[in-house]
Amino acid sequence: MPPRLKLFLPVALFVLLAAFLFRGLSLDPKEMPSALIDQPLPEFTLQDLHLGTPITRSDVVGEVALFNVWATWCISCRVEHPYLQFLADQGVAIYGINYKDEDEAARRWLTDLGDPYRANIVDTTGSLGLDLGVYGAPETYFVDAAGVIRYRHVGVIDERIWRSRLEPIYQELQREVTP
């Protein structure tokens, strides 16, 4: 290498480093891929919040559906609730997983704010949450018609995120059902 070009080496290194750091600014470390992507929805036998009867995996799989982990203690869940209602009104199948919550408070929440869920699975101890790798609420799992988890969204679902990222995934899963 000519000695003149060698002088530019520190600049080149700096630019490279800056590029990596700049990229790092727009990465969200909280956005981790779920370990359950392309794995079947775990087996469970829990209670249905409204009916009080047992609800199992076979009751909820068979169509493309969203499994929304929520709780009344979760403030962000209240934020996303109206949009879930909107999606449910559009015909999106949403099941609720009431995570580490009190049944009475959960039922009151759904009476007061509306109920976008096909059914609600009561997960008081967080056992289903553990099998799903849930580490907070809200989280939403996209399950295809065969009962396989295809995507996990951590955090609030709002119109912007639905339009830009989640709707294409949902449409893709729907297309697989009716080719």
């Binding site: 981790m32 891929p33 779920s34 370990a35 967080g126 799903l132 849930v134 907070g136």
Partner: protein, 160 residues
């Protein structure tokens, strides 16, 4: 003196307070060996919620859950690798502070070794070059240069 002892009490009580927050719950183990393994593994498992803490240090609900599961599985006789598999199948390699070696973690594991070797190579080459320069005899002066040197030396002597 009174003030000093008051400060001492305040400072030491704040230490105790910090300690009581860190130890969140206690488990009774059937053997000291299990307790030792619990301590080891809860330090190696990473809290998925707080990201830069292990589950032993974290107060997050999910860390509490994982500690309880760790305790239950240890008491029921699971091996360390069975417990790790259980955690990894749910939370991914992310929950381990020392993830297993695989295609995705190869860079993580190999980077220090490669960087170390690279640094060694650079030091070796640059030292070698410097030694090479030192070993060379100084270049011979040409006839002209010799003459010029002589006149300069002479001039310097005269000026003195």
């Amino acid at each position: 003196m009174k003030l000093f002892s008051l400060i001492l009490v305040l400072v030491s009580s704040s230490f105790f307070a910090a300690g009581s927050v860190a130890v969140i719950e206690t488990y009774e183990f059937s053997s000291p060996e299990l307790q030792q393994r619990y301590r080891q593994m809860s330090a190696e498992l990473r809290c998925p919620k707080c990201q830069n803490q292990n589950i032993a240090d974290s107060n997050a609900p999910i860390a509490q859950d994982l500690r309880r599961i760790l305790y239950e599985q240890l008491e029921s006789g699971s091996s360390d690798s069975e417990i790790l598999d259980f955690m990894v199948s749910r939370y991914g390699e992310f929950v381990r502070y020392s993830p297993s070696f695989s295609g995705a973690t190869a860079v993580l594991w190999l980077a220090p070794v490669i960087l170390f070797l690279l640094a060694g190579l650079i030091v070796f080459i640059s030292l070698g070059r410097r030694r090479g320069l030192a070993d060379q005899p100084p270049p011979e002066l040409s006839e002209q240069e010799q003459q010029r040197l002589q006149t300069l030396l002479n001039k310097a002597e005269r000026d003195n």
